[in-house]
């Protein structure tokens, strides 16, 4: 009797196997058909239709990785991140090394303000496996991470990521320019200038790179270099107000710096006298702007010093007493620092004097 049962089991098993093959083949075919339609709609950014089609495909193969991933992407396209997230988390459980899944999860975490999660997923994406263009995808993921870090004012971490990125960047001028921009945002002007220069090596007339290099050089206090870059940049893009303003300031700095080389003694004395007058006006304007508020003790003291030194601050007196140049410019720098602290950032000649003060303070 048991033998007969065993034979029956074999017969029924065989029959059900045939039935199962037909059933599964049909389901696979239906799933593939719906999936293909969904991919077309996803590429055409018809997210609603794509979602319906991917859901239909999932009816026939609920655990299919590609179906779920595409559905998640379509859901993200419609900003239904909560739902997309659940699919992505499931996929992540199955393949935690998938780059795209990690990147999408990182983006969702950014939207939700979950910084730690975002960083974890971004790092996973950077070191994850990508099906195509692995290096490019990893680099893009890192760039996106840096953007995110800068948006959260985590400059030190962003700078570290940028340095890591720079090492694997190659000679692509566009990428170098982008990295330069990011270094500029992290206030790492040295690396920024380096990246722009690499970009300019390949594209000498790249206006954006020239502007970036000019701005980086300006921030580094390398005004002659900044002037060269900014002049070329403004020639490429005359309408850029920021570059024009920076160029103007650069030129003022270069013109108003009495300590620069290759100028005559007479010219230096003239610059010092003009700078002294400019600083005095700035001090008066600042005190007046404070209105009823009493001037600070430092301002009063600076005013007294300025008034005391003013009669001696002539070109003739400077010729007789060369030490007065140093003393006069020290007072000018002190006035500019004090007034910028109490009355806000200066513009024009005062800004130039402040920058010169910083330049010489550093040196």
């Amino acid at each position: 009797m048991l033998g007969l049962l065993a034979v029956l089991v074999v017969i029924f098993f065989t029959a059900v196997t045939g039935l199962s093959r037909a059933y599964q083949a049909q389901r696979q075919s239906l799933g593939s058909r719906w999936f293909s339609r969904g991919v077309v709609d996803l590429q055409a950014r018809r997210f609603d239709s794509a979602i319906t089609e991917f859901r239909s495909a999932l009816l026939y193969s609920r655990d299919n990785y590609a179906y779920q991933l595409n559905l998640a992407e379509a859901l993200i396209g419609l900003k239904r991140t909560g739902e997309a997230s659940s699919y992505l988390v499931n996929l992540w459980d199955r393949q935690p090394e998938d780059g795209l899944v990690n990147l999408e999860l990182a983006r969702i975490a950014v939207q939700k303000g979950q910084t730690e999660q975002a960083l974890r997923y971004y790092h996973n994406a950077i070191y994850a496996a990508w099906s195509t263009d692995q290096e490019d995808r990893r680099r893009d993921a890192r760039l996106e991470l840096i953007d995110f870090l800068l948006s959260t004012n985590t400059r030190a971490q962003a700078q570290a990521e940028l340095i890591a990125l720079e090492e694997n960047l190659g000679d692509d001028p566009t990428q170098q320019e982008r990295v330069g921009d990011l270094f500029l945002r992290t206030q790492d002007y040295e690396h920024a200038l380096g990246a722009y220069r690499l970009s300019l090596k390949a594209e000498r007339d790249n206006g954006a790179a020239l502007a970036g290099a000019g701005l980086a050089a300006f921030q580094l206090g390398r005004y002659p270099q900044a002037q060269r870059y900014l002049q070329t940049a403004i020639a490429e893009n005359a309408g850029n107000a920021l570059i024009a303003e920076r160029l103007k300031t650069t030129e003022l700095v270069l013109a108003m710096d009495p300590f620069r080389r290759q100028i005559s003694v007479a010219q230096r004395h003239k610059i010092v006298v003009e700078a002294f007058d400019t600083a005095g006006k700035r001090l008066q304007a600042c005190s007046a702007a404070r209105g009823a508020a009493l001037p600070t003790a430092t301002q009063t003291s600076l005013g007294n010093s300025w008034a005391k030194m003013k009669p001696r601050m002539t070109e003739g007196e400077l010729r007789r007493d060369p030490d007065l140049v140093e003393a006069g410019m020290d007072l000018v720098f002190e006035i500019e620092r004090e007034t910028s602290a109490t009355c806000g950032n200066p513009v024009g000649a005062d800004e130039a004097l402040l920058l010169i003060a910083k330049l010489h303070e550093a040196s």
Partner: protein, 618 residues
């Protein structure tokens, strides 16, 4: 041939049991140590007897259970294919269904189902759980093969066309029917035949659910109603083998993608308690809907039964057309989506309500199909809705709707189907995550207690009574009080003699006592009982100088005396055990488990009967 073989074997087995009982009775331990006697009797047999012993019916039953599991698994796989094809050809292949199909498919299928049920398969109405219980308790395990065929066809058509019913209970009934057919072909004894339907039921349910533990528990909890070693092995074997077959063909993926289970803060248990309360109330509404509507639909003229499933299908189609197609069919895809945050909590709550309505319509119309999947659907939607509402009220809590949906499934299982143990293990087995156990137990307890309080009769008992049957209520059995010996015993009110005493001394003491019976503490251990008349008879036979112990051990006493040894009871023994002895011995000693010589009390037949009478009077 087979029949006579098993009959002979049955006799042998009964003889062994008899010896076993006698031996244990004398040792005063009831039937607790039976195996040693069985080994002794087997050792003395011939090789033929040994061979017969190896292929005894209980062992054959285990082998047969595996075959039952395999056949049930194959049947359930085919059933799933049939539902899939019906769904595909009746409703279409996509998730967005055309309006005409939404209305026509369930309506027209309803007409066909009604005709099939009325004319060909009248026993296929309903879910199938009660029919399996009826086979166990009324029909000696007999279920006609036509039932399985009918259930297969009509349930596949119903579920595939969008009626709000599930495939699990029909699978259970198909498995039970196959088991019954196999049992009949094998000419099993009546005892085994009775048990074979639950074995098949477990196999069918396990394959449908892809959850063998839950299936075994459900069958034990709701169909058989008691744990016995004899049946447990068979049920487990059949369930496991059916699941293996099912996974062979359909893969091991669970019914839905399991979300990441999170219980972040213990304070979330409050929210789970709320879910338990909501689930309990929903369960009561669901049960009361069936209790009210089903008899009324059955009472309608016969001709209306041709149209009831069609009308239910039409109304379900209209609900689907108005924006809730998720309620059609078993609804596992919608449960999956709810677990993964697709719907707003308001829509989830609406879906739960609409599913209750749709399932009521399908079920009370007599359409064959199961209640498991709709129960899980309602639970998942309610759970996710409560989770979503909590997130809306307390946005800082990172609530996972999937976890709430999973817990919600258990809640409705506990509240509506009243299977509390299965409900907990079902969620654990489906989720594969033990960190969910605390929320599940908390929520299920609330749901079960509320449901039990507001709806005293469990749904399966309700359906049984509506069908005019009187099957044992598993819930009542579970909650039934058990009387123990200590509830009936009385303080020692008879003289207790020492075994060293002589008959003359004992008679002297007996003559001064009002009691007719005396207990004797025998040496080195054990107890005996003797009456005053027996002592007088012994003295008349010139045995007055003999000690009571020597008379008990050497059986020198005449035929009219029976000094001992007699069985003893312990206070924690069930009272029914006392019934085995009190009719043979006028007084039975109740002794301490720590010291058999220490008397805790005595019990007589009258004590037992009086206690039962008091218990019966409430």
């Amino acid at each position: 041939m087979r029949s006579s073989y098993f009959a002979q074997d049955d006799k042998l087995s009964k003889k062994e049991d008899s010896l076993n009982l006698q031996n244990n009775s004398l040792a005063g331990v009831g039937v607790e140590n039976g195996s040693s006697v069985a080994v002794k009797t087997a050792n003395g047999r011939s090789p033929k007897a040994m061979l017969q012993s190896v292929f005894r019916e209980d062992r054959f039953f285990l082998v047969l259970s595996v075959f039952i599991g395999v056949f049930s698994g194959l049947a359930v796989v085919c059933f799933r294919f049939a539902i899939g094809w019906c769904r595909l050809y009746l409703l279409g292949s996509g998730v967005v269904l055309s309006r005409s199909r939404l209305l026509l498919a369930p309506t027209l299928a309803g007409l066909v189902i009604a005709a099939l049920v009325i004319h060909f398969f009248p026993r296929t109405r309903g879910s199938g759980v009660n029919q399996t219980k009826a086979a166990l308790f009324i029909y000696n395990g007999h279920i006609p093969v036509r039932t399985a065929i009918g259930k297969f066809i009509t349930a596949a058509l119903a579920i595939g066309s969008g009626q709000s019913l599930g495939p699990e209970d029909p699978s259970l009934q198909i498995g039970a029917t196959l088991a019954s057919v196999l049992g009949r072909q094998m000419r099993l004894s009546r005892d085994r035949m009775r048990l074979i339907a639950p074995v098949g039921a477990a196999a069918g349910l396990a394959a449908a659910f892809n959850a063998p533990i839950s299936a075994v528990l459900f069958v034990i909890e709701e169909v058989i109603g008691r744990w016995t070693a004899g049946i447990l092995g068979s049920v487990v074997l059949s369930a496991v083998s059916s699941v293996v077959v099912m996974r062979w063909f359909l893969g091991s993926e669970s019914l839905f993608r399991i979300p990441v289970v999170q219980l972040q803060k213990p304070s979330e248990l409050i929210a789970y308690s709320v879910l338990g309360v909501v689930g309990g109330v929903a369960s009561v509404m669901f049960s009361m809907g069936i209790a009210t509507l089903r008899p009324r639909c059955k009472a309608l003229p016969l001709w209306t039964q041709y149209f009831q499933p069609a009308l239910a299908g039409l109304l379900i189609g209209i609900i689907a057309m108005l924006g809730a197609p998720q309620i059609m069919g078993a609804g596992y895809e919608a449960m999956d989506e709810a677990m993964h945050g697709r719907f707003t909590w308001q829509f989830l709550a609406l879906l739960a309500g609409l599913k209750i309505v749709a399932t009521l319509l399908s079920f009370v119309s007599g359409t064959p199909g199961g209640m498991f999947a709709p129960t899980l659907f309602v639970g998942a939607m309610l759970g996710a809705a409560v989770g979503g509402a909590e997130h809306a009220l307390l946005p800082h809590l990172n609530v996972s709707p999937g976890t709430y949906a999973l817990v919600g499934m258990g809640v409705l299982f506990a509240g509506f189907l009243r299977a509390p143990m299965t409900s907990v293990f079902m969620v654990l087995e489906v989720s594969g995550n033990y960190s969910i156990i605390v929320p599940v137990i908390v929520a299920n307890t609330f749901a079960y207690v509320i449901s039990r309080g507001l709806q005293p009769i469990a749904i399966f008992d309700l359906l049984t009574r509506q069908d005019g049957l009187e099957l044992p209520s598993m819930e009542e059995q579970r909650e039934e009080g058990v009387l123990h010996v200590e509830d009936a015993m009385r303080p020692v009110n008879v003289p207790v003699l020492d075994g060293q005493e002589t008959v003359d001394a004992a008679l002297a003491e007996a003559e001064t006592s009002a009691a007719d019976n005396l207990l004797v503490r025998l040496n080195p251990d054990g107890w005996g009982c003797v009456t005053r008349l027996e002592l007088r008879a012994l003295a008349a036979e010139e045995q007055g100088g003999s000690s009571l112990s020597s008379l008990a051990s050497s059986s020198l006493a005449s035929d009219s005396t029976s000094i001992g040894p007699i069985p003893v009871l312990h206070p924690d023994h069930p009272l029914e055990m006392a019934l085995r002895y009190v009719d043979r011995w006028p007084v039975v000693p109740v002794v301490s488990r720590a010291d058999f010589r220490q008397l805790e009390g005595v019990i007589t037949e009258r004590d037992v009967l009086e206690r039962y009478r008091e218990f019966g009077e409430g």
